[in-house]
């Protein structure tokens, strides 16, 4: 298949957007919203800590998903340029 410059440009733009999305998602996954025990007056700290751990895992999974899309897009771009 001959190279498709229009498709390649579109994929480059998508790749740039995906890179931004991945960086933002990785930053969020690296700093999940946690609270210290002292932040609580009641006894909800333990329950919130579990929820925050789960959320951290999901943020990391989202970042990984975006990274996968980025890899696939890079592959598509290589095909478009080939």
């Amino acid at each position: 298949m001959p190279p498709d410059p229009i498709q390649a440009d579109r994929l480059r733009d998508q790749l740039a957007t995906l890179r931004q999305l991945r960086h933002a998602a990785e930053a969020r996954a690296a700093h999940p919203p946690r609270l210290t025990t002292d932040a609580w007056r009641g006894d909800a700290h333990a329950a919130y800590a579990i929820t925050a751990d789960e959320l951290a895992a999901e943020l990391a999974a989202l970042a990984a998903g975006i990274a996968r899309v980025e890899r696939l897009t890079r592959t598509e771009l290589a095909h478009a340029l080939a």
Partner: protein, 462 residues
């Protein structure tokens, strides 16, 4: 400076449904922002999916979109859950306190009063006998009690002692009232017609009738002792540092071309705890008269200094006070005679002062400092109340000064943490208080003049 880990700042924001720590309050907008950002990224993934060149890529992007929306939802639910948990805690705390208050009022009336009628005379006689039988002069005995209090600061440095003082103070006249039904109706926990203020007023009245100078108010006079150029304060700690330790009133005049002058008034703490009203107006007499809601010597002296400094009833003024200085600031703000734009107090017994609506600022107190409790229960205010324990359980309490949690350095440590607070409830008040002074000094021709005032009581012989 305290050498232990600080306890969290607990924030009572006006109109808020729940009381929470600064950290938790600052966390809620963080979660809102996180949810919004994740959701926005989900929308971007959806846009990318529309232009995806292959089905596989589209499926992956759709999965990212779905996961983003689910995550945003989850974060919003977490935010709601935090608010609900704190709301439930605050409600349970309020209910428990209310029930405890009412039960202790009734118990005091039904059990303690009859018991006290029987026992108090004997206890008083016993105490008097012990005082006279103990070796040493009266001075030595007083010094021994003072030493014991210094060596055992934990006795008076705890939230439990503060609560006890609050109950004793607000229950004193209930106790005299005696009847459980009357107590429930008229006391602090009923209609609020009787309480710390009435107890203090009765004490002042009795002292005045006795005809001695003990706890008896006098006229006061004020001298302008120093003046000079100044700079605007920035932050709570700096304002508290400017509260004079001895010269009782410091007034900063802020001028800018074409604008009416503004003022910050700093009021000193108690200078003597002697019950005898001699030359010093910042004394125990002023504390008791002030808590009674009457014009104490220190309140009148501060108002005289304000008038001398050129503060008119319509001049904008911010009042800053520590300990008795806070009570004076509250009373002046509550008088309605001045145009108070802000009120910042530390460790003051002015919680019982009724303030007009709309007076913003900060009221800072330590839960293990019993002095604020001597003013009776906190009235509803539009200020942010910041509370923390100065010496948490693991802390070593200093033994070189009385009432360590009430000392200015303990409040300075708290004020520094307030300056580092992240919740908008505190930050908004700090911004407004800082801006009050800086707005003028940042203008061309803006300047600050500082004046200091010393006051004294005028006794019959002077």
């Amino acid at each position: 400076m305290p050498s232990h880990d600080p306890s969290p700042l607990v924030v009572h924001a006006p109109g808020a449904l729940f009381v929470a720590t600064d950290e938790l309050l600052a966390h809620l907008p963080v979660l809102t922002r996180l949810a919004d950002e994740v959701e926005a990224d989900g929308h971007r993934a959806a846009w990318l999916s529309l232009e995806a060149p292959s089905a596989m890529l589209r499926a992956e992007l759709d999965a990212c979109e779905r996961r983003s929306f689910e995550l945003a939802d989850r974060v919003r639910r977490m935010r709601t859950a935090i608010a609900a948990a704190e709301l439930a805690y605050s409600a349970a705390e309020r209910s428990a306190t209310a029930v405890h208050d009412v039960v202790s009022d009734w118990a005091a009336a039904l059990l303690l009063r009859p018991a006290a009628r029987l026992l108090l005379p004997w206890l008083a006689l016993g105490g008097l006998a012990m005082w006279h039988l103990a070796p040493g002069s009266d001075e030595q005995k007083r010094a021994a009690i003072g030493r014991w209090m210094l060596e055992n600061p934990q006795v008076i440095t705890s939230p439990e002692f503060t609560a006890l003082v609050g109950r004793v103070v607000s229950g004193a006249d209930d106790f005299v009232l005696g009847d459980p039904l009357l107590m429930a109706l008229l006391g602090e926990h009923g209609l609020g017609l009787m309480g710390a203020g009435t107890s203090a007023a009765v004490l002042s009245g009795v002292a005045a009738l006795a005809g001695t100078s003990v706890l008896t108010e006098t006229p006061v006079r004020v001298r302008h002792v120093a003046s000079g150029p100044g700079t605007p304060p920035s932050g709570a700690a700096e304002r508290l540092r400017r509260v004079p330790d001895q010269k009782q009133v410091r007034i900063e005049r802020y001028s800018a071309p074409g604008e009416p002058d503004r003022f910050i008034v700093y009021v000193a703490p108690t200078q003597t705890f002697s019950p005898v009203a001699d030359a010093e107006p910042w004394d125990l007499t002023s504390n008791i008269t002030g808590v009674a809601g009457l014009p104490s010597g220190s309140i009148r002296a501060t108002e005289q200094a304000m008038a001398h400094a050129g503060i008119r009833p319509d001049s904008q003024v911010v009042l800053v006070g520590y300990s008795q200085g806070g009570l004076v600031a509250d009373a002046i703000a509550g008088s309605g005679r001045w145009n108070v734009a802000g009120l910042e107090t530390y460790g003051d017994p002015g919680g019982g002062v009724d303030l007009p609506d709309g007076i913003r600022g900060l009221a800072v107190r330590h839960s293990d400092d019993f002095i604020p409790a001597t003013g009776g229960p906190q009235q509803p205010v539009d200020r942010v109340i910041v509370e923390r324990r100065a010496f948490p359980d693991a802390a070593v309490i200093p033994t070189d000064r009385p009432a360590p949690a009430h000392q200015k350095d303990a409040y300075l440590a708290t004020a520094r943490d307030i300056d580092g607070a992240r919740s908008s409830a505190i930050r908004d008040e700090l911004r407004a208080l800082d801006a009050f002074a800086r707005d003028y000094t940042e203008r061309a021709g803006g300047n600050v003049t500082t004046s200091e005032y010393r006051a004294e009581r005028i006794s019959g012989s002077s």
